[in-house]
Symmetry: C2
Subunit: 501 residues, 2 copies
């Protein structure tokens, strides 16, 4: 006899399969599709999205969830079944809160705003984008009301990316980061050009970079038997199942960092998906639990592992052997310094490990101000530049290099940005806990291996997928709520040493 | 006000989009997917297929077709609207003739038969595959009854791949081919080793082969702005829209032909899809009208264009410049002979332009005999070898190199094979007509260009998509029904010259 829960699962599998088909279409769009194929691809994706929306918001699906929930009454909180019901209920309610008219209008405005933004950025013409930004802000405000909130409007949006996290908590943590990180940045700046990044700015053959990217991502534990590396303009990771979790990267012929640290970063994301428990497969539990926790995995591989001295002591000889002319004369210490140079910059995606956080804090603060009606679209450039001065000590010469640089504000997606910096903080807190529980992790890392670290991540984080909220997970794993402390301990020690502060 | 036809189109677009999403998933499966991703991919494809089947066989869809048909009553036969209604009606009726139980059973038997076949071929053990072949034959018989037929059982199956074509017609044409082609093959054999294919059997760097494959496929008119070349084990072409029609190929480091002629062959297929009229987009009219006509386009590019002397007089210098050590000492005449060597072989996919037809005629005759109960599965090996002897003058030493070589008979797909050889005949008949209507085609070809040929194909064949049946198209374009005559004129002239007969 089929139980209600089994009947629900059948429907969940169906919705999941269509969602994953959409992910394949999207991946192919970025990696292989000729540009001319875009209009047809958009039609195909729109059709699949519509089916998914209909299935996942139907009264019938809601009834199935509740029937299964009633049948499972009393199941343990951390059981797969109870966790799935919690997640389905939440998504179902959220999805039903946005009327189809709003979703369609959002999509339409976003499409047009994106085109206007691309043009505005290319011509450094903020005024032409301003009316679109106004509409996007209105959509965000409307969305916040539709979702509802208790304390602050921004809570409603943040919750969609970092479920359970409150704006006030994030603000307190970011303020603490600012208080310690600004002085550290200033101290580093006073040391001037103590760190030289010439080694990574040379001519590097792209095919050889690819070879090394394969080598180094495999070295940190990305499983190519369940993965694939593709080339794109804007790198990302995606998964179609735990057994097919892909990474992408881009290649610069005169700069090593984008391919190298991009590949490590995306591997961190993909390894999270590869590590979700087999029993969660084909359900929405089978992925990272939030954007912030996801980012903790990518940042850990990119920075805590991938920008550490011990790791490169093991792997630098291999890189040197592939690029003897470029790197033969540089020691591993030279290389370690080069990949850790701190340099305040205008562009977020080019920022170093430390100053990256300022780029995020700035956006987090401006998003709230715009959402709450305290900052008008037309005043954004000025506010942007003031915050750049305050946090990074530099002011972009143009809006294209300032408030027009990111695509994010062409759609109602306020609340997304903070997850990038939260990832750095979660990552440091997880890493500190892991090392304290198993010191072998650090010893191995100094030999270039991540076996024990990955085992710890699998056990404590990856396998659970989305069973727990980010707040539950960080408490469960580290015994404490999220704080900035571990990140600041890590950053202070590392950069004090690097810059002889 | 929305017309019935517009309402129908909306539903047609939806079904089409899901079908194309399936095609993307299938393409990705062959080109990029790690093997471990297969089970999840099969689930995703099964879910989409089920949706498509439900939508395209629903009573509602049938009613929509009929309502639109009534509304369009009197539309010209060759209008897009009337052509779409004809095609939809036919597919709808065909789809409804196969009960879900039969479709599921077919899929199950095919899956198991395929595994058994792979093992049987690897171990040269026909006996272990025989029970599965018996089941496949039964499925074909059942399918023929479900579809229905007037004259011969085989008609019902052939019609699914080559709509409107009768078995008796194909038999008459193939008999005529045999009557002329067997003596030609024998005459060639008597000339012994007159033709040397050493030039193509050397070490060829794969990356350089890729470079040349891009060059030569572009030279024949494959549009890379609306295409993409991928690497696979079993090459194919596919399209997700006329603006995204892809080719795939494989690379041998010691044999030039598979990548070279494989890429030309698949380009011919993809150019057909790229050439369908924009107004047919997002409907089932937007593809090649039948497998045979499709094959006429691929064979034309592979053989009539790609194995002609004039074409290589223009492009051989480029190939030589990429492979100076391998080809420097060979003239274009040497190369032309090498790529046209006739050599009866056991394996269909390795056969040359002439003897390939025998491989198909053999399968066509054996399929009918099995379908009609005149040949039992257990007697297949013997019958196979006897026909090999009769048609090709060689007998395979093992069943793995004989009746076990193809995957096709692991599923109820009798009727598919003949389209391969029909393609050669259609292709020659189209080509002869094209040249007679525009002699510039041949002049350009001798300069390595296909501009006028492609324009002719676009105008006369490609743009129509599936508006006409293969029989209608060949009559419309060449003024006659399909015959073997053009192919035999072409082949006789070419090989008489090559082998100085």
């Amino acid at each position: 006899m089929t139980t209600k829960y089994e009947a629900l699962l059948e429907k969940v599998y169906e919705i999941h399969d269509i969602g994953k088909a959409l992910a394949v279409l999207s991946w192919d769009k970025e990696v292989n599709m000729p540009e001319a194929g875009l209009p047809a691809r958009v039609q195909q994706m729109t059709t699949l999205s519509r089916f998914n929306h209909i299935l996942s918001t139907s009264d019938e699906f809601g009834a199935l969830i509740e029937e299964a929930a009633a049948e499972l009454d009393g199941a343990a909180y951390d059981s797969n079944e109870a966790s799935l019901i919690r997640l389905l209920r939440r998504h179902y309610e959220d999805n039903r809160k946005l009327p189809p008219e709003f979703v369609a209008r959002s999509a339409e405005v976003s499409g047009k705003a994106r085109a206007a933004w691309a043009k505005a950025r290319a011509t450094n013409d903020f005024a032409s984008f301003q009316p679109w930004l106004e509409q996007v802000i209105e959509l965000c405000q409307e969305q916040a009301e539709l979702y509802g909130y208790e304390d602050e409007k921004y809570d409603a949006l943040l919750d969609k990316y970092e479920h359970g996290m409150k704006t006030a908590d994030v603000r307190a943590i970011f303020d603490a980061v600012k208080a310690e990180l600004v002085p550290l940045r200033q101290a580093i700046e006073e040391r001037g050009t103590a760190v030289d990044d010439t080694p990574v700015h040379q001519a590097f053959d792209v095919e050889t970079q690819k070879q090394f990217a394969h080598y180094i991502t495999q070295a940190i534990g990305y499983d190519y038997e369940r993965g694939h590396l593709g080339t794109v303009v804007h790198p990302f990771a995606t998964s179609f199942s735990r057994d097919d979790a892909r990474i992408t990267t881009r290649w610069y012929s005169d700069f090593l960092n984008p391919s190298l640290f991009g590949a490590l970063h995306e591997s961190g994301h993909a390894m999270y998906e590869q590590g979700t428990h087999r029993d969660l497969a084909r359900t929405p539990l089978a992925r990272g639990t939030s954007l912030g926790i996801h980012e903790s995995q990518s940042r850990m591989m990119e920075n805590l592992v991938g920008r550490s001295l011990g790791f490169w002591q093991a792997h630098y000889p291999q890189l040197q052997s592939l690029f003897p002319e470029q790197l033969g004369q540089y020691t591993v210490q030279d290389f370690y310094q080069a990949i850790n140079k701190v340099q305040p910059s205008y562009i977020r995606v080019e920022a170093d490990e430390l100053t990256y956080n300022f780029h995020i804090i700035l956006r987090f603060e401006l998003e709230q101000a715009m959402l709450n009606g305290e900052l008008a679209a037309q005043d954004l450039p000025e506010a942007w530049n003031a915050k750049m001065e305050e946090l990074l000590g530099v002011v972009p010469p143009t809006d294209s290099q300032g408030c027009l640089q990111d695509v994010h504000w062409t759609r109602p997606g306020f609340g997304y940005f903070p997850t990038y910096a939260l990832g750095n903080l979660y990552g440091a807190q997880f890493f500190e806990t892991a090392v304290s529980q198993n010191p072998a992790i650090l010893e191995e890392l100094n030999q270039g291996r991540t076996t024990s670290l990955l085992a710890w991540l699998r056990e404590n984080i990856h396998q659970h997928g989305r069973k727990f909220t980010p707040g539950e997970l960080v408490q469960r794993v580290t015994g404490q709520p999220l704080s900035h402390a571990a990140f600041m301990r890590y950053a202070t020690a590392k950069y004090n040493d690097l810059y002889s502060l």
